[in-house]
Amino acid sequence: MIEILISPQLAFSALVLGSLYSLIALGLNLVYGTMRLLNIAHGDLIMIGAYTTFWIFTLTGIPPFVGLPLAAGIAAAIGAILYFSIFRRQLSGIDRVERIEANSLLLFFGVSVILQNTVGMMFSGSPRAYQFLDTVYEVSGLMMTGNRLAILIFAAIVLTSVVIFLTRSQYGLSISALIQNQTAARVVGINVSRLQFVSFISGFALAGIAGALVSMTEQISPFMGFPFTIAAFVVIILGGLGNIKGGIIAGMLLGFVEIYVVVLTSANFRSMLIYGLFVGILLLRPEGLLGKTRRH
């Protein structure tokens, strides 16, 4: 048992899973943090990204890394359409924050249903998959499948660059300020609605990227998105809603918890544990494990 627990194999899997969780939660968090919109269609944009990459690879043989920007672009374009047709109106209203949150859940539920069924209509419900980079590399006893290693590397690159962008660049700092305090951001002359638009489509693009990465290892179908949405929500609750760094850490944490608890107890408890943790955190520390106490 001890040997399994300390094996690098387990740590690698936890890293891959954790980085994927962090990545899918990042986009969701960005949209929530800057606009208080709860995007339950997030998983469906992952699905869109996955389909884009799948078709590009299957039809032209262009590898997913090259297809990835296009997946991000298509997701961002969908984001732009939704922003201008639906959400700009919501955000500019004088409604209370709570109302925007509740409304956004319903609006995105509508979006989710539309996306799933449009893709279902276009490509049927058949599961799809392709073979890419599935050689197993061995580094001093640690075995890594190429595509899983690629997920880890790409997720790490994206996560680091987003964090650097948010903490170092002028533009990123404005977004961080917006997340911290919207009213104050407006007062110091930050163009809030412009930043909100950028955050909105960035959140969508990040989902598209996650989808491109996921498609390398999993079968894809129009209804694959929901579990990802759930996972992303669990992560951002753990990290504190709107807390970008908290979300990244929480994603990694969840990956490790999931992998190691299965070994320590039983795989059978996996889902009970995840949702138990989720409910427990919400009850005991609704601002998240890593969140600051904040009252609306």
Partner: protein, 310 residues
């Protein structure tokens, strides 16, 4: 209470009873297929009505009402052929209410989006716990043969609709109901003017679990096959919220209007273009949230006012 009884004289209540009497005639006039549709319609009205009793009045949006439906269904399915049904179905309602009561104290302290996601997570937690329970006990699926006919289920479901609607009507007109509305507007202010906030929320939450529990029990009897994932399907929670929004969540007529609208829309389209129907549902939800956040009910009122003034 006097105002509640005066409500019985309103046009809506008479419309309602006339409509329900009409629906009770469906089995003899339109046959077995339409009886099933009527049963579904009544189920949605009953659950949505109970949902509005809590979520519509307090503003706490529950995205996990399926948990009560599922618990009720599970009670009935797991006691099938050991406990008589007239007892098992109400027991389903009681079990759901007990669950609501037990979780209410910690759950209702959580507010806003946290509450929405929490109710969803709670429903999933209960689903996976029961799934585990079934696995451990070696009961992966259950067959229910010899259940009551669909007509009988329909009459029982109409009974639930009446129960849920009258409860909502009486609550709306009571001190308790006004207290809940104050909580929705401003919880802190409600406490300062002497509304027992926590107690009111707990009572409303518990009451709103009873009817879904019984409805779940009845719907389990409709199928010959019981499977945990089926009765805890999160889509049920989403549909209830959608119906309440489209109908108008602050209004006792809302659940009727929302459920009738979606069930009719579904009958029109799913036969010919199922995916298109789902896309339409998504579109309507978005349109209603943006342009008619108070639902069809408010729209009807506006229509009436403009007709009177015009």
């Amino acid at each position: 209470m006097t105002s509640a009884f005066s409500l019985l004289k309103t046009r809506f209540v008479w419309f309602l009873f006339a409509g329900l009497l009409l629906i009770a005639q469906v089995p003899s006039i339109l046959g077995s297929y339409w009886t099933l549709i009527a049963l579904n319609l009544m189920m949605w009205v009953a659950i949505t009505q109970s949902w509005t009793l809590f979520s519509g009045m307090t503003g706490y949006i529950s995205l996990g009402h399926v948990v009560f439906y599922g618990v009720g269904a599970y009670v009935v399915a797991s006691t099938f052929n050991t406990i008589p049904l007239w007892l098992a179905v109400p027991m389903g309602g009681i079990a759901a209410a007990l669950l609501a009561l037990v979780v209410s104290v910690p759950v209702l302290r959580v507010r806003g989006p946290y509450f929405v996601i929490l109710t969803f997570g709670l429903a999933e937690l209960v689903k996976f716990s029961i799934l585990n329970l079934e696995t451990v006990s070696g009961k992966s699926s259950r067959l229910l043969f010899g259940t009551p006919s669909i007509e009988i289920l329909l009459y029982c479901m109409i009974g639930l609709v009446v129960l849920a609607t009258l409860t909502t009507l009486f609550v709306t007109c009571s001190r308790f109901g006004r207290g809940l509305t104050v909580i929705r507007e401003d919880e802190v202010a409600a406490a300062t003017v002497g509304v027992p906030v926590l107690r009111y929320k707990i009572i409303a939450y518990t009451i709103s679990a009873i009817v879904p529990g019984m409805a779940g029990g009845l719907m389990a009897l409709k199928s010959t096959y019981f499977e945990v994932l089926q009765v805890f399907n999160p889509i049920i929670s989403f549909t209830v919220v959608t119906m309440a929004i489209i109908g108008g969540s602050g209004d006792v007529r809302g659940p009727f209007l929302g459920a009738v609208f979606l069930v009719l829309l579904s009958e029109l389209f799913w036969t010919t273009a199922p995916q298109f129907y789902m896309i339409l549902v998504g579109l309507f939800l978005i349109l209603f949230v943006i342009f008619a956040p108070n639902g069809i009910a408010a729209f009807l009122d506006k229509l009436q006012i403009s007709r009177k003034s015009g």
